[in-house]
Amino acid sequence: MIEVEGLTKRFVTRDVVDRVSFFVPEGEVLGFLGPNGAGKTTTMRMITGFLPATAGTVRVAGIDLDRDPLGVRAQIGYLPENVALYPEMRVEEYLRYRAALEGVPRAEVGKRLDEVSDRCMIGEVRRQLIGTLSKGYRQRVGLASALIHRPRVLILDEPTVGLDPRQIVKIRELIVELGRDHTVILSTHILPEVEQVCRRVLIIDDGRLVADGTPEQLRTAAAGAAELLVELEAPQADAQVALAALPGVAKVSGDGNGRFRLTLEGGDLRREVFRLAVDHGWTLLELRQTTLSLEDVFLRLTMRDTTAPSTPEEETIDA
């Protein structure tokens, strides 16, 4: 649905977005993660055609942005970060105005208004001036206006910033629901949001894509190979040999007191370790797989002053 290839934005001296490429299939909810100033908003602005790219191509629903910018804009519903609206207009008036700009057929407008007000739960403020609305309502009015033309793609730039916890929950539920019939790109720096809402995550840092995958894949990838901590009451040497012989184990290090750290090539070996202990009549005292939270992954990938063992290129995995 969205194909981005080598997208670059250079502002005078520095590359704000540097050769970013990704593909979003139809119906996917993609989380776009990165610290502030990483280039998330710039990337989104380039996809919507608001900012011209220095290099690279964007295709939305098979339409090339350079060839037919208006065609691409028609496919996209965009909610920018600060949800800019006209305070002097009434909600309904504004939605009608957006409908006209988006080319919604005149006869359809009334129906669409009901549809989006219903979906975004703004029915009770339809007659109100936008300037008098709370931040949460404004966010929903912004979202309603982005949906009025039934776009196939939704691009939401930090849609929950500045909302209270109840409103955040509501907006997230709404995004999950919208994800059922839209392709969604959601930018955020709130990690639990991504875990809740997105099936796939891109992490961008300093203009470069540093990770691409499902939250689980990212965790595994960033942990390097996963590790398994095992504590056994068993003859040290026998146990070390037996554990190292298990398929999928890359390395075993023991501390001499029955504790072993298994570096795995991948997968989950807890069952095999358990059976091994049972077969040999050893007592299993502890068995623990180390997992990283998405937060750890994010920190590892975006903080360059930590002693990351590998370069960003190596950490990038393909979904």
Partner: protein, 246 residues
């Protein structure tokens, strides 16, 4: 077409929901009423030579120019600067509308508001008609001149509004450009080189209005004002397209 109409409608809503519109309208009427009264008092003085009041009213006094040079930037300053400041420009330009449509929509809205300002002055014509013979053709050409000035001035105002997020800066910038445009024609008197004198005379806005007020519709004047307005609108589109400056 429907998109342009929607843009015009939105701008007019914005005009009439801000206090500025009413302040401008009131000041404009008050000021024009005062000027009209001055003209009447002046012409009623037996020592003045015979002149028609409408000729004075349509650009024959410095008041006309002072106010116009000042009021049009105030009308146009908001148009793009405010959208830039609040960020609505991003929402607007990610809708399937072109920069050209946006510029034309905003320009037409400002022009409509400008015409609306002048609408009540028709009353003066009606009052005069009760007391004197009025050549309605000259009235029409006078209003045509005013409309043409509106086209030119509004295009300049829109152009300067596209440059900045600050409305005041936009207004002052527009005022400066308009003063330059206006005073270029006045330099005609000082020029000695006949070619330069001719060129400056072609640009003399005071003479433009004078012609129109006398019922002289000169196509060269129309072409000058419309082509200059066209140039400014074209430049406005280019400035809006050059978003990388932000």
């Amino acid at each position: 077409m429907r998109k342009t109409l929607a843009l015009i409608h939105r701008e007019l809503v914005a005009y009439f929901s801000s206090p500025l519109a009413y302040v401008v309208l009131t000041a404009f009427l008050f000021f024009n009423g005062y000027v009209f009264w001055l003209i009447m008092a002046y012409l009623n003085d037996p020592r003045t030579q015979a002149m028609t009041p409408l000729k004075l009213f349509f650009g024959g006094t410095i008041f006309f120019w002072l106010f116009l040079l000042f009021v049009v930037p105030v009308i146009t300053m908001r148009l793009i600067a405010e959208e830039r400041r609040s960020g609505t420009l991003e929402v607007l330009l990610t809708a399937p509308v072109s920069e050209g449509q946006v510029v034309i929509g905003k320009f037409l809205a400002a022009f409509i508001f400008y015409l609306f300002l002048w609408l009540p002055t028709v009353v003066y014509v009606v009052i005069l008609k009760q007391h004197a013979a009025i050549d309605l053709y000259k009235v029409a050409s006078g209003y045509l001149g005013i409309a043409l000035l509106g086209v030119l001035f509004a295009s300049v105002g829109l152009f300067t509004s596209a440059f900045t997020k600050n409305q005041i800066v936009a207004a002052i910038f527009a005022f400066a450009v308009l003063v330059v445009l206006f005073s270029m024609g006045l330099l005609e008197q000082l020029a000695t080189n006949p070619a330069l004198k001719g060129a400056l005379g072609y640009m003399n806005l005071w003479d433009h209005m004078d012609d129109f007020a006398r019922g002289l519709v000169d196509t060269r004047r129309i072409v000058y004002q419309l082509s200059l307005a066209g140039l400014f609108l074209f430049l406005t589109v280019k400035v809006v397209e050059a978003r990388k400056w932000r």
